[in-house]
């Protein structure tokens, strides 16, 4: 096979993959700017009226701010826990490290409906089911493996001598952690934290089980609206989700890209 032909096949495959991956997003964004009254792609004309509508919809707005709160709780819980667990996992020969590795695979194996029901029962028993913060904690629990992964990947490339050097400089264990270990794993912490934020923001199934009419989060609210009547404002909400995800990626590139640059690795 000649080189130009190889290159052509390569780019055709790449183009196909990009198209398939971005098609849902393109359709949703396209449908959200329609000037008609039904969801349609290609859109009929162009208008931002559906964005205007969601900007005035109180239920969607409240659900949006609740989702933000849930995500912040999730980040607040998962970052300290995930950071310490990630460092410990990559650093020490833990008893039960195997069990931990299995735990890290759980998000891919246990159906969310199972963990959701489990948590619904437990939270119900604890009588905290109507509150918003347990939803954030639940999101932290089910997604924790992602931040543990991200931090332990950073910690694995950490030079152990850096911590010995800090001790040699007179830093005790706590000072060593804050001055040397934590800055070194910061890229992993930032990556994991943003990931946790986005995952909690978009978490649907577990939120559905743990929320009631007073505490619906944005994905649940969207689902409720779909069940009544499908209008282009839902496409506009979905576009907001896409924008949040893109913002997270941009932030990651800025923060971690910068961090990696500073580490000259």
């Amino acid at each position: 096979m000649t080189a130009p032909l190889q290159r052509a096949i390569f780019w055709i495959l790449v183009g196909f993959a990009v198209l398939i991956l971005s098609l849902p997003m393109v359709i949703v964004v396209g449908a959200s700017v329609t000037s008609g009254n039904i969801i349609a792609f290609p859109p009929e004309g162009f208008s931002l009226k559906w964005y205007e509508k969601i900007a005035q919809a109180r239920d969607l707005q409240q659900a949006f701010w609740r989702s933000i709160q849930v995500s912040l709780v999730c980040v607040a819980v998962s970052v300290p826990v995930g950071t310490l667990a990630g460092i410990a996992l990559s650093r020490y020969r833990l008893r039960g490290a195997m069990a931990l590795q299995v735990y890290l695979l759980l998000p891919f194996t246990v159906p969310l409906i199972a963990s959701g029901i489990g948590m619904m029962l437990v939270f119900g028993e604890w009588r905290i089911l109507g509150a918003l913060w347990p939803v954030g904690v639940a999101c932290a629990v089910i997604n924790l493996p992602f931040i543990i992964w991200s931090v332990s990947a950073s910690a694995a490339s950490l030079d152990r001598d850096l911590e010995l050097a800090a001790q040699n400089c007179g830093a005790g264990p706590i000072a060593t952690f804050f001055h040397v270990t934590l800055p070194a794993v910061m890229p992993g912490v930032i990556t994991g934290g943003l990931l946790m934020f986005v995952l909690a923001m978009t978490e649907f199934l577990v939120s559905l089980l743990l929320t009631d009419a007073r505490t619906v989060t944005l994905p649940v609210q969207v689902y409720n609206n779909i069940r009544s009547i499908i209008t282009p404002d839902l496409a506009a909400v979905s576009t907001i989700f896409v924008v949040i995800a893109l913002a997270a990626v941009w932030l990651l590139d800025r923060l971690v890209g910068l961090e990696i640059f500073l580490k000259s690795k």
């Binding site: 010995l164 050097a165 800090a166 001790q167 040699n168 007179g170 005790g172 580490k263 000259s264």
Partner: protein, 363 residues
């Protein structure tokens, strides 16, 4: 017996990782204040383990280490007054050069007002005054070395430890930094323990050298004494280039497969005992005729089997029918006659009895 000038005493210290052999086996030595000691040994000899025990990163499984008379085994590393330059330097990548140097002062709670001036002094000492705000990755290898040494010395440690920090540098920079370490050490008068596998570095920079092998200290001596009077065949082989002759002891020499070689017994050895004789490459005389080796106590003939050009000298490898199976290594220095002996040509060689050192065949 009170010795006021003693900084470090390592007293029968052992480290057993539980793998069968001890990483460090009953190491014992004293180091006086202001001296520069090098621990020399091949990789796996236990020298870095020994250093880590002194720094406090490892706890000896037996024995005791005292610094300025105080046992330190119960002190965690950050409570010991020891500066260390690590093999891979271990500079903090998220800090500037000046922040790295200031770090030990902050951690050791120096008066914050005095810190900037002191950091400047030490950056000047290592000739990095103009680079204080550079990040570590913006500095060259030699400059990073200098930051590491400033960081290790800035808080006036009682002891400086060097864990092969020069091993990764190219040869020219390494030799430059060896002299630099020596200069700074003399200037500050700080007691220093340096670890290396580079025998040349050990000879150049040290007041005293300890040779380690297999976790055991083989010899402690000044560079000159170590070179001239190696305690055993390991030291003789590790420091300098030597040819070894295995045979049995005779009066005033060694007999190897019927050939009697004149040599000096380094200890009291009875005739007939299995021994190993070592002779340095620069102590073998080499010539085209028997006349060139007339004043040698042992005179032999052989053939040149290989010739290695090393720049300032040639290394000839000789084979000798009287000493079968031995590659005799000879340095040849005459700059006017570098291609004197061709490969395959017959040569006369020999040595004086005092230069063939005969040790009891150990292991």
């Amino acid at each position: 017996m009170e010795e006021t000038a003693l900084t470090v005493r390592v007293h029968d210290v052992s480290m057993d990782f539980g793998s069968g052999t001890k990483a460090v086996d009953s190491a014992r030595f004293d180091l006086e204040t202001g001296r520069f000691l090098t621990v020399l040994g091949p990789s796996g000899s236990g020298k870095t383990t020994l250093l880590h025990m002194i720094a406090g990163f490892l706890k000896p499984t037996a024995g005791e280490i005292t610094i300025n008379g105080q046992p330190v085994d119960a002190l965690p590393p950050h409570r010991r007054s020891i500066g260390m330059v690590f093999q891979k330097l271990a500079l903090f990548p998220h800090m500037t050069a000046a922040e790295n140097v200031a770090f030990p002062l902050k951690m050791r709670r120096w008066n914050p007002k005095g810190i900037p001036a002191r950091v400047s002094d030490f950056l000047d000492l290592v000739k990095l005054g103009d680079y204080r705000d550079r990040r570590i990755h913006e500095l060259s290898g030699g400059q990073q070395q200098r930051v590491a040494i400033a960081r290790a010395l800035v808080f006036e440690p009682e002891l400086l430890l060097l864990d092969e920090p020069l091993a990764a540098l190219d040869r020219k920079l390494r030799e430059e930094m060896q002299l630099e370490f020596r200069r700074i050490q003399k200037e500050l008068g700080v007691t220093t323990i340096n670890v290396t596998h580079d025998q040349r570095e050990a000879l150049v920079v040290s007041d005293e050298i300890i040779v380690m092998d297999g976790g055991k200290i083989q010899q402690k001596a000044t560079p000159v004494a170590l070179y001239q009077q190696p305690a055993n065949d390991f030291v003789a082989g590790f420091v300098g280039v030597s040819t070894f002759l295995d045979g049995s002891a005779t009066e005033g020499g060694v007999e190897i497969q019927g050939t009697r070689c004149a040599g000096t017994h380094m200890t009291d050895i009875a005739a007939g005992t299995p021994v190993r004789g070592g002779i340095r490459a620069e102590q073998i005389r080499l010539g085209r005729s028997a006349q060139a080796v007339a004043d040698c106590d042992t005179r032999l003939t052989g053939h040149v089997s290989d010739m290695i050009f090393e720049g300032e000298r040639l290394l000839y490898v000789l084979n000798c029918p009287a000493l079968p199976g031995v590659d005799i290594q000879v340095y040849y220095h005459d700059p006017d006659a570098f291609d004197l002996f061709e490969i395959g040509s017959e040569v006369h060689f020999g040595w004086r009895a005092r230069d063939l050192r005969i040790f009891r065949a150990a292991r």
